[in-house]
Every structure is written in structure tokens, then in C-alpha cells.
Amino acid sequence: MHKTMVMLAVAAIALVSGCSNIERSRNLANPEVSAKTLAAQVCSNCHGLDGNSTSPAFPRLAGQQVDYIVSQLNNFRDHQRIDPPGYQYMWGLSRHLSDEQIAGLADYYSKQTVRRDPTESLDAKQIATGKSIFENGLPEEAVIACSACHGPTGQGMAAFPRLALQHSDYLIKQLDIFQNTQGRPGTPMETVTHPLTGPDKAAVAAYLQAFPD
């Protein structure tokens, strides 16, 4: 029995360690591993294979702007983003990514088709309020329309991220970070979000998650 088990174990280890596995590597410090491989073997654990994450704890990356993904991965790698989810999850994963890998990841996710979360549970009145904020802002509070920078269809533009169909819970969390912390510096969002109330944030996030075709 012992001999058999030893042989089985040794055979299993020999079989696998002899094989180069660069195509299916999860090594985050090897610049030879392609961005597509990293996306599939590592990033997909939270963000989904095609960038459509299941949990709203993690942003939907499908269809995201290339420049935005590059800037955020750089911010993680350079420790510029100090919001807790940023440093808890992403500082380490990004620490040894090469510029080429970052560019490749951005390219990969930008080309994925964005999918829609279920919207049955969302409140129609809340969505209407969110639509108004997205399209018109809150003029009396000097909040500019989200669409001014993020585009009329919420598709984003360059360093301004795509928002349409993003998880509402994720958006609310980001708005809170912009509004209440210095966790994500270098954007105008701290000023923009300053007057927003809790219901305002929830409404615009609900609208963006349910973004109409």
C-alpha cells in the first residue's frame, strides 16, 4: 500500500512539475505570463472571466475604458489608491505587473461585452430620480450632471470610467469613498459628490445598474 501511494504521489508530482505551464500560470511576478492568462487564472476569481463580476463587492470590468483601467492598476501598483478594498485586494496583486501586462488587461476587459444585473428589485421611482441626477445633476446643489463626463449613455470616456450597468452597491461604495475619504485622490469626484445625500447616491447608483438600452 505504501509503495503504491508513494509511486502515485511521485508520479503525480513528476507528471505535473515537468510541464511548463506559462499558458495557465497564476504567477503574478512573471512578466512572461500574458494578460489574458492572468485575467483568466487570477482576475476571474472575483471579476469573472469576461469582466462581469457576480458580487457587487468587485467592480464590473467588461466594457470598461482602457485608460481608466490602466490608471487604476497604476494607482494600485503605486499605492495611490488607499481606499480599503483598493489596498486590501489590489496592491498586492498589481505590485509586480508590468506596464505591458497592465495594458493587456485593460485591452482585454475593454473588449468584453457588459452584462446586466437583475433589476427586478430596483425601485422605479428611485431609478427615475437617479436618471434625473445622471442627466441633469442637482443644479441647486451645484452638482453637475454625471453624463457631462461619463457620457450620455454612461459609457465613459478615456480616464472617466464607464458607469452604465455597474453594480449599484459598488457605485454607492465608491461615491462614499469620494465623498468622505481621501482614498481615491486625483479626481474631481470629491467636489462633485460633496452635496449628495444618501438617497441621491442610492438613486443614481440604481439608475446606472439598470441603465436602459
Binding site: 503525480a12 503574478l28 483568466a40 487564472q41 476569481n45 485586494y89 498586492g92
Partner: protein, 544 residues
Amino acid sequence: MNMIWIMVRIGNGSILGPFNMWTRRKLGEFGTSIRMGVIQMQSIILAVRAMRRYLLTFLVALVPLIMALLPQAAQALPTFARQTGQNCVACHTGGQFPELTPYGRLFKMTGYTIGERTMPLSVMGVASYASVANTSKSDTADSGVSTSNSGSDFYKNGEPILATGSLFVAGKVTDNIGAFVQITHDPYAVAPNGSISGHTVADNMDIRFADRLIDEKRDLIYGVSLNNSPSVSDPWNTAAAWMQYVPVPSPGSHQFVDGTAPYPSFGTGGNIVGLTAYAYLDKTYYGELGFYGTADGAFRIFREGIDDSQITRLQGYNPYWRFAYTRDWGAHNLMIGTTGMLAKILDAATDPTDSGNFSQVRNTGIDAQYQYILDPHTFTAQLAYMQQVTNYSANSLAGTSPYFQANGTDPVAALSPSDTLNTLRLKLAYTYLAKYGGSVSLFDTSGTTSTNQQTSGYDSNGQITSQDPLGTGITSARISGNLLGTPGISGSTLEAFYLPLQNLRLGAQYTAYSKFNGASSNYDGLGRNASDNNTLFLYAWFAF
């Protein structure tokens, strides 16, 4: 034959994890038990009072320890965190190790290979303080027994101790191979001769190869694990090897803390060797099959530190299986699974070349876990149920119980050829900001009543005695004794904890027993009640 039976019975102790004394002690499985417990307000009030009384002492004892550790703790992280560069919360739900998040499970299933190779060493320790509600002897009727000296029955009760320490050698080896190897020191281990001393042994060990085939059509993670305990390779925390809250101190130092309360477990216990193959398809279907055997020869390392006379010896290949269905939606995830094992286990201290010394143990279990994880909240509900059927070895059944009925002349019933044990554990846990948390757990064990499980009873004088003053040669176990021969422990554990740092957890548990060894009162025949075992347990658990 009586002598043979007594030896077997000592080896078996109770029918939970019966055949490896060291493993049983390590798991804290004293025993036996019964029906579903409910949380008693009285117990909660007692807990609050007891905590108030002892908290200051505990904190005073802890301060120097924490201060000594802080510089390292603030900078250094356990090996997996170094490997991925991530915070503990990425893999551990709300920071409450060892419970895994969906990502943590995938990290494990992909062979601990995400990230980069780093220095593969980590250290973990637990400092604790435990106080049992009643430490007076339950056998005061016997001559020469002091009521004030709690002696070895409650060694270190009411004293802060460094309860356990582990060294981990863990992490990525190649793109496909990784390991989780834990070596644990117990300062208060019970040696084969009954003395208590420091002892270091092989603990959880899982060395695996894994690969992942993932594209638009399918996502298949598969691998093999060489490990030393059934279910240690399992990624869900309702698995027998992982549901326990905290690495509790050995019963050698503290009895009746959380680890003594029953957890669903496998009859073999750990420190054996197994090779399992597993696959996880489309993040939905998980299956694992494997075989376990005695950790001898080249596999001695999997039970290093345990005396040859105390290891679990198995006959041939002993199959283990596990299947689970999982689903993720939004911030929620669910697992419903089943597990089991068939094992032929050598009775303790018997001849392995005699096949009549092997008992057959069949474990079948179901378990389920639900998690909601969305910062700042995490909520976890766990259910685990295990049935264990033991068909006793031919040789052990040739003996008879040493005990008599109350009249001291009529023997008790003949040994039962088989026993069934059902263990249920429910747990609800919540964390906030990965800093504050609490849980409530209910446990219940029930099963066959049989003389096999009696460890306390009447002698030939119709007396129940632990000291045998009249020299009948028949003694009863105090504190852990089982007069009814009924496995039955019911009760609940409440816990509150605080994580000032991601790798330091301070906690307080209170375990209340409504039934112990089949009875709420006088369960050992020497006057001890189940509630006498209620225990306050304070701990500081750190890793760096």
C-alpha cells in the same frame, strides 16, 4: 477478556473519533452526547458575570504579549498574504480566519499557487484563559479525594497560558504545486503515560497539484491533494477539519472549551495519509474522491511526533468522498454538500496483524453554508451533520463490560455489535468592518445507548467509585465518565471577538452544556452535572 475489553475501551474512549487517543485529545472529543440544545438565558447571564470577573486578569496578562508582538505583527504577514500581497480579508470572511471567502476557496483549490513564491514560513499562536463553572471533584464520597485540589482534571484552569503554537511551511512551489503544512506545539499534551508536557506534532498537512482549464465554454479546476486528514483538503468551512472556531488548547490544559463540544468529524481523526483527486466545474459542481491509509514508511511525516502506539492504524485503502453544489448570486453564495468515508480502524493497543482487531466505521454527512459578504458586513450560516456507524471489531466484542447493575451482582447488558452517533452543529456568525464579530453555535450529539460507551458504573459492591477503595478492580471515570452509555452532548457556544489588527484576534467564548454524556445531572454517576462543565474561554490568536 475483561482486560482486553478495558484496554479497547480505554483506547476507544468515547465513540467519537475513537481509535486515536492523541487525535481525540487534540480534537477535544471527550465524548458523547445528546439532543439539541438551546441558548439559556441563565447561561448568558453567567457568561457576562464570569467575563466581567476575569477579563481584567486576562487583559493584564495579554498586554506584554501583544506589545512584544506588535512590531512584527504590523509589518509581517502570514505566508499566503506575503505571496499574494493581499490582506487577510481577501481570503478570510470578515477577517475571521479560518473561514474562507469564495476567493479564498479558489485560492485553495488552485493549489495555493496564486501570486509569487516568497519566504514560506509563518507562525501562529494562541494565548488563552479558561474557567470551568465547577472544578470541584465529583467523587468526594471516595476516600482520600480532596474537594479543593482540581489536579489534572482541571490543569491550568483559571490561569492564562500560551495554549498552542504552530509553524506553517506553506505557499506556492511551482505554477501548479503548493502546500499548506502546519506543525503544532502543544505545551500541555498528555503523554502515553498520562503525564502532561510540551509536545510538537504534525498538524494539518495538504500538499497539492492543481490546474485550471478556463475559457468561454467551461471553467474546470482540478487537482490532487496528498494530505493527512479527511476533509483537510476541503475548501468549505463546514468540513469536519475546518468548522471549529479557534485552535483551542488541548484538554491536557483545559477541559470543556469549544473543542470539547462535539463537531462533526470522521472516525479516523487525523494524522493518517490520503491521496484525493478533486474537480470543480463552472464554479458550481465540486467532487473529491480519495483513499486514506496508515501514515507509515515514507509518510511518517504526516504523523510525526505521535508515538507509534498512539497513531491511527487503518487496514488497506479507506475511501473518502465529497460532493457539493455551489451557487453565487450578488453578494451571496451557497454550498450544499455531502461527504463520507469508510474506514477499517485498528482498536487501540491491539495487534495490527490480527484482522479481528479492526473495527469498521462509516461516516456519512451533509453540510451547507451560506455567506453574505459585502463590506462592511459579512454574515455566515453553517450547518453540518454527520452520522457515524461503528461496527466493533470481533475481538473487542468477545469481551464484556466491567460494570454491574446497581445491585452489584447482575451484569450490565452485553456489548453492542454496533453503535450509531449523530452529530449536528449549527453556527451563525457576523462581522462588521472586519474588526468586530460574534457568533452563536448550537451543538447536539445523539446515538445508540450501549454498554460499549459506558465509562462509569457500579462495581461488584454496587458502588460507583473512581478510586476503588475496596479493590474491586472496577473504576469509573470522573469528570468525563459516562454512566448511561449514551453519547449525548447538547449545548451552545456564544462568541464575541475583536480584530485590532488583521492578524490578531481577541475573543471570548462561553460554552453552555444542557446535557453531557446523556444526562443533564449526575452524568458520571459521581454527582457531576452537565452545567458544571460550562466554560468561559478567552483567547488571543495571532499569526505573523
